[in-house]
Symmetry: C2
């Protein structure tokens, strides 16, 4: 999962570890707290070893002279390679059971603007099915086996059930919008130097909170 997220972010711009973590937290803030460095750095190492990314120590920019004084530990900037982009495309397109779990779905969804519509639909429907099953499990529990559980556990289940129902509705909206919507898929980004380029492709739907 981390691999996918890193590859996705580096496709937008080259970054060093700290920045990467911030962007990761920003993009995935809705689904997980913050990525630990204990996960981030080993993963970067792994990706580099596999050839998906390259790491380059940042040169002091101006003044190549005066190098060895204080031995400044420069920031390490990571850049995605062509193979890395291929890898990303492969990861983003392949869907399995782990794609429908909480974390997996969140990460995939966060990169939907780089995913083709057919895959988006597949993922949304898979996720819906997963949540529906969880919902059914909770309903059964609240129905048949209710007297076996104490009041607090029951309350927890109720809250969980509510969240499931809400997410299913949310997914329904997204699916409907995806089906009917003209969704111009953004294929590749290419050069990663643009920085300010804002590609906000398909409006996922007017999910306005009007509850009259």
């Amino acid at each position: 999962m981390l691999e996918l997220a890193i590859l996705g972010l580096l496709q937008e711009a080259s970054m060093h570890g700290y920045e990467l973590r911030k962007e990761l937290t920003a993009k995935l803030g809705a689904i997980r707290a913050a990525i630990s460095y204990g996960s981030l750095y080993p993963t970067l190492r792994r990706l580099q070893a596999a050839g998906w990314i390259t790491e380059a120590a940042e040169t002091p920019a101006t003044a190549e002279e005066v190098p060895a004084l204080t031995s400044r530990r420069g920031r390490v900037v990571y850049t995605i390679t062509a193979e890395g982009k291929e890898r990303f495309a492969q990861l983003i397109a392949q869907t399995g059971p782990e794609t429908y779990g909480d974390t997996g779905f969140g990460v995939h969804f966060a990169f939907f603007s780089r995913t083709d519509q057919a895959t988006r639909l597949r993922i949304l429907e898979g996720r819906r099915r997963t949540i529906e099953e969880r919902r059914e499990g909770l309903r059964d529990m609240l129905g048949r086996a209710a007297e076996r559980l104490d009041a607090y556990t029951l309350e927890l289940q109720r809250h969980g059930l509510d969240a499931c129902e809400r997410e299913v509705r949310w997914l329904e909206e997204l699916i409907a919008n995806e089906r009917s919507g003209r969704a111009p898929t953004v294929p590749q980004d290419g050069t990663a130097g643009g920085r300010r380029e804002d590609n906000s492709p398909p409006p996922p739907g007017e999910t306005r909170k009007e509850r009259p």
Copy 2:
């Protein structure tokens, strides 16, 4: 976290691994999918080594004779010890940052009927604070940094924000109910052979879904 959950469940009744997993899934179904055996068995081993639980191979009940034929691998029944109960009480009472995370809070909440009211209140308020901070982070993102993110990521944040607001309201209700409510804390269970005993202590609140 698993340690706490296992100790809590074994306090209600002795069980073997498979049953333990089912009960675990039932009790925590609202917050996590299912506990893996790859976590369960090593943890049981650890708990046994620490002396919190004891494991006993199930005797074939009748017919002690005819032992070595087919060498039936009996089920291993785990029972909590007195030290284990102390350990559980210690774990359930101590609150830290990990208590307010998604999983940690869920597990603690599931055993609220074995937690004293002061601790319950502390946990609920800590959780509320945590979610409020997450909520503020998402609001900031949707406010200031909105144009930096694509439409799908934004939609994900919106959904996350919605879930945060909903959970805060839920927690408010629980806190209010906890403060005003007479909540008879269940101290100890003692004998674990009763099986059918139903101790449903404090009604956590009328969280009815009336939306007129």
